[in-house]
């Protein structure tokens, strides 16, 4: 397995270079360094000299990908792409375009992001699996049919509706929790109740329906018939045998997103005023801050690759027949 993991890590390097290149190309297709300078310096009284100075300070005065005026390796290394990308591979993110340290921001924002994302993930997984098993248990009854209809309806509703509706109902009409905001430590709980609740409810439609189909498929297999023939109760069949065997496809979807929980939620964090990495990314995109955008895309890519690797490893844990060679 060690050789497999090392091989996968080595495979990740060209992928990350490619992701960096695509991010770079996409970003600079719509923004020029001059645009970035103007965005940072404001709309008033900005002189050409100020723009040049801003670019020079941040290394945006160099050629994009190839420096024809430099000789040897400098033709490649003395470029915006190389200088901005190479440090990422040692996780040195440098400073944002407004001069503030990206590493510091990521470190301080990761906590709030995880405080929201982990409960949504864990509680959501538990709720979805439970509801899916119940629907599977009552399959082909009115409960199952209306459960699926409800799931499809919930899937079709925009996440924004859950957020705005939840804020209106729970915080404004019932006055039970703050509408938005965040506090450190234990006090964070009352700020997280509503976004977690909404995150879980918003995910039920797709999650429960998908897991239900997995469990329904499992229920039709021979080992389930054997278990029933042995006289096991339906609950034991479902929660012990079907659930365990249905875990492989569930893991495929679940484990891969675990590392991405660090990245936070783009919309929820904005609406609930949670100072996490999701809202940091949105701010950076709006501010055309390439330094932050590339850092967040890079971290997202690394975490996604890590998630896929973890998924592979988790297969071996839930199914001993699988070997990573």
């Amino acid at each position: 397995m060690t050789a497999y993991i090392i091989r996968r890590i080595l495979y990740a390097i060209p992928i990350l270079i490619g992701v960096n290149l695509i991010t770079f190309a996409l970003f600079f297709l719509v923004n020029t360094p001059d645009d970035m300078a103007r965005m940072q310096l404001g709309a008033k009284r900005v002189t050409a000299e100020a723009i040049e100075k801003w670019k020079a300070e941040r290394g945006y005065d160099k050629p994009m990908l190839y420096n024809g005026s430099a000789g040897g390796t400098a033709a490649i290394t003395d470029t915006i792409f190389f200088e901005k990308s190479v440090k990422l591979f040692v996780f040195d993110f440098g400073n944002a375009d407004d001069g503030r340290n990206i590493g510091y921001e990521i470190a301080t924002r990761m906590g709030p992001s995880l405080a929201l994302a982990i409960p949504v993930f864990m509680v959501g997984l538990a709720v979805n699996i439970t509801l899916a098993l119940l629907m599977a248990f009552f399959r082909a009854t009115y409960l199952d049919v209306w459960g699926v209809v409800l799931c499809v309806a919930m899937m079709s509703i925009s996440g924004l509706f859950y957020i705005i509706g939840g804020q209106y109902l729970v915080s404004k009409l019932w006055n039970l929790v703050p509408i938005s905001g965040y506090a450190g430590g234990v006090d964070s709980v009352r700020f997280l109740i509503l976004p977690v609740l909404i995150g879980v409810i918003g995910g039920i439609g797709s999650g429960a329906r998908w897991y239900r189909s997995i469990f329904i498929e499992e229920i039709g297999k021979d080992y389930v018939r054997t278990a029933r023939a042995k006289g096991l109760s339906e609950a034991t069949v479902l929660f012990r045998h079907v659930l365990r065997n249905g875990m492989i496809p569930i893991l495929t979807g679940a484990v891969v997103v675990i590392p991405l929980l660090f990245m936070g939620s783009l919309i929820s964090e904005s609406f609930f005023g949670i100072p996490g990495l999701g809202s940091y990314t949105i701010d950076a995109i709006q501010a055309q801050d390439f330094a932050v955008v590339r850092s967040m895309v890079f971290i997202g890519s690394v975490l996604y690759i890590a998630g896929l690797l973890l998924t592979d490893i988790s297969y071996t844990l839930v199914d001993p027949r699988i070997r990573l060679e």
Partner: protein, 728 residues
């Protein structure tokens, strides 16, 4: 059922006396704190770099430039802040001879402003001023290993202060030319302040040496450059004459310069602070920078700096003191704005700014009493304001029930449609182009636009000058005769027939070119931000269609839009302008030929050129306000109205809401340092919050009960199936 009732009782008891939806700690219930919000994360808190109103909301409470605007009086008037009085410029000829105050612009080679600051003003407590028992600075020469253990300003336990000196103001002026960051006004100020450009060159050379030595020691990648001490670098344009007096010397005559002295760019900066934050390691992932932690003499100091969540200002214990103004404009006394006249400010101990990126939570928290004041977005306008048939705004019954107060003011800003003067169809001073522009000016019904898209929040423009700026005239005198007629004591927009007639005279009868017969098509460059813009764009098309002109919308992103304007590659486009200072020069220069955007990257985005206008502008810009200046402005406005380089759109009105417990709120479009005058009745706030926010439990519990009851058949079915025997 018994369990359910117990739960209700427990939850009800738990709710007694505490507001569950209160976003603030319970300990702050009755505190003398103002709660406000901010949307955009501030990029810069360094007064040499910051140039946005969002950032000035914070730093103008901390940094004190020598002058400020009177809080209540209108028109806006400068008064002293840390200065003893308003400096009067002295003018000098090229040979050094002093000229009188009414000297002609062309005779003046230099002007001098001597600013005397009040003795005894002290800085906020800060580690940069801390001294040991031997009198030496405690934290200015820290070894790197010690800095590595510091992560926030609070990790420096000792603080100190010192008196504000004239040298601090001079130091800040030199910082405008600092080689390690870009001050947005350096380009403009270097044209005026004598020696600033030269200083920038010298500092750059000095900095190169420092950086070379640094890189030799730490390598190229290391960015922890040592302090660049600006004190030894003298500059003719800014000199301290004694401990409390400094002189600014500018080229020529620039009466508007005094307004700059009310902006944070000219606030004092103690060299100790610059030195403190320049120590190696301070910005090594810690953000311990001057851009993050301001050091000032103002009524407040930044106690918590978390731009991702909240910023907290607390009262500066060393504040020199100031009193609430004793006079204002007519109506201020009746509005209760003079009730605190003569009392010492600030009244509020603490100001909490929470970050609210979205409008819905912001608005709802204001209605719950968790924000003390709020603007009104278009989404909430109908809920907050009623407009009567006369166009007068008043509060909705829902707002009145909460005793919320509405404050309105016409902003010192303008929003307009510009014709690019470089364009062969709409540009230039030919009669054909001029009449075409005039026809469009009549056809675009701004009264309707304001009513539909701005909820009535604006007044139609008669020229570039908004109300409250010298030169603006009310009534028939101020009307634009090209677009309006004065009928029954009101300006009335000319009819579409007039526009058709002008269009025909321009050579486009019925919207067709009389030479080619082709329909007239104009191109509007715009930045559409979402589906909500479609209605606005359709409205523009309809307005042009009224005179048979086809309007093609060229939608683009903000960067390309700016690029097109810079290169003069546009035909018509919308733009706006917010005043830097309340002087007509700051609006009239938007049409000054030599500042054409395509030629000089100036602020004349329409690239308008009229030699007569330019000649009058050169005379007007440096004059003191008075009848002569008014006459010049009248002539310039007449020229501009006739040439119609802009469709004079509208001047937006600012609407603000404040709860009944917030006193002394008066909109001030020029200054943002007014929080020191606010007063809070925290007892009333607490009572209102308790009244508005008591938890409603029966409804969610009833909902829960319904869910439980609805799931009971499933539960019983589950039990029955579990006990069911195998069927044959």
């Amino acid at each position: 059922m018994l369990r359910l009732l117990c739960l209700v009782a427990v939850l009800s008891l738990a709710g007694c006396g505490e507001l569950w939806n209160n976003p603030y700690p319970e300990s702050e219930r009755s505190s003398n704190t103002l709660y406000s919000a901010f949307t955009e994360r501030p990029k810069h808190l360094d007064p040499a770099q910051s140039y946005t109103s969002d950032e000035w909301d914070f730093i103008t409470q901390i940094y004190e430039p020598p002058l400020q605007y009177h809080y209540l009086e209108r028109p806006y008037r400068l008064i002293a802040q840390t200065a003893l009085d308003i400096p009067r410029p002295r003018h000098f000829a090229r040979d050094g001879r002093e000229l009188g105050s009414q000297a002609r612009v062309e005779d003046v080679a230099f002007s001098e402003y001597v600013i005397r600051i009040r003795p005894g003003i002290r800085y906020q407590p800060h580690p940069a001023f801390a001294t040991g028992s031997d009198g030496r600075a405690r934290y200015l020469d820290l070894p790197e290993r010690e800095i590595k253990r510091k992560y926030a300003l609070a990790d420096f336990p000792e603080t100190g202060t010192r008196e504000l000196t004239a040298e601090d103001y001079v130091y800040q002026i030199k910082r405008l030319a600092h080689p390690r960051f870009v001050s947005p006004i350096f380009g403009h100020m270097s044209e005026y302040i004598v020696g600033l450009k030269d200083l920038a060159e010298r500092l750059r050379a000095e900095d190169r040496k420092i950086i070379a030595a640094h890189e030799a020691r730490y390598g190229r990648a290391d960015r922890g450059y040592p302090w660049l001490d600006l004190r030894p670098h003298r500059i003719e344009g800014a000199e301290a004459l004694d401990r409390h007096t400094y002189r600014i010397r500018i080229r020529g005559k620039y009466p508007q310069f005094v307004y700059w002295l009310a902006m944070p760019f000219f606030a004092p900066m103690p060299h100790e602070a610059d030195r403190f934050y320049s120590q190696r390691g301070m910005n090594d992932g810690r953000n311990l920078t001057l851009d993050w932690y301001p050091v000032g003499t103002g009524p407040y100091m930044l106690a918590e700096n978390n731009p991702n969540a909240r910023m907290v200002l607390v009262r500066n214990p060393n504040f020199h003191g100031e009193t609430y103004p004793s006079q204002g404009e007519a109506g201020d006394a009746a509005a209760g704005l003079l009730a605190d006249a003569g009392k010492g400010v600030p009244f509020i101990d603490r100001i909490v700014f929470s970050r609210e990126k979205e409008g819905i939570p912001y608005w709802n928290k204001f209605l719950q009493g968790y924000y003390d004041q709020s603007g009104i977005s278009s989404d909430n306008f109908d809920q907050a304001v009623r407009i009567d048939i006369e166009g007068q705004a008043s509060l909705s019954p829902e707002m009145e029930a909460k005793s919320i107060r509405l404050r309105t003011s016409v902003g010192t800003s303008t929003f307009y449609l510009a014709f690019n003067f470089l364009d062969p169809v709409v540009g230039g001073l030919s009669a054909r182009a001029k009449k075409l522009r005039q026809a469009v000016s009549i056809a675009l019904d701004w009264e309707e636009f304001i009513s539909i898209f701005a909820n009535g929040r604006g007044i139609p423009g008669m020229g570039p000058l908004p109300p409250g700026i010298f030169g603006y005239r009310e009534g028939a005198q101020g009307m634009n005769p090209v677009v309006y007629d004065w009928i029954e004591g009101k300006p009335r927009r000319k009819s579409v027939q007039d526009a058709h007639r002008l269009l025909a005279e321009a050579g486009y009868p019925n919207g067709r070119d009389d030479k080619t017969g082709r329909p007239l098509v104009l191109y509007l460059d715009t930045v559409a931000r979402g589906p909500g813009d479609k209605a606005r764009l359709d409205w523009y098309r309809r307005q042009f269609a009224r005179i048979n002109i086809q309007l093609e919308i060229r939608d683009t992103d903000w960067n390309r839009f700016q690029e097109k304007i810079r290169s003069g590659n546009t035909q018509v486009f919308f733009l706006g302008w917010n005043a830097d200072y309340p002087d007509p020069e700051n609006f009239m220069f938007l049409l000054h030929g030599p500042q054409a955007r395509a030629k000089t990257q100036g602020e004349n985005a329409a690239n308008y050129q009229n030699p007569e206008y330019d000649r009058l502008f050169e005379r007007m810009k440096n004059m003191d306000n008075g009848p002569e200046r008014q006459a010049l402005i009248d002539r310039m406005l007449a020229i501009a109205r006739e040439d119609a380089p802009w469709v004079w759109g509208f001047h937006p009105k600012d609407y603000g809401l404040a709860h009944a417990w917030v006193m002394n709120v008066k909109p001030n479009n020029m200054a943002r340092n007014g929080l020191k005058f606010y007063r809070i009745d925290s007892a009333l706030r607490l009572r209102s919050r308790e009244q508005w926010n008591s938890p409603v439990l029966w409804l969610p519990l009833a909902l829960l009960a319904v869910l439980v009851i609805a799931s009971l058949p499933a539960y019983f079915s589950f039990r029955r199936r579990e006990r069911m025997a195998a069927r044959p």
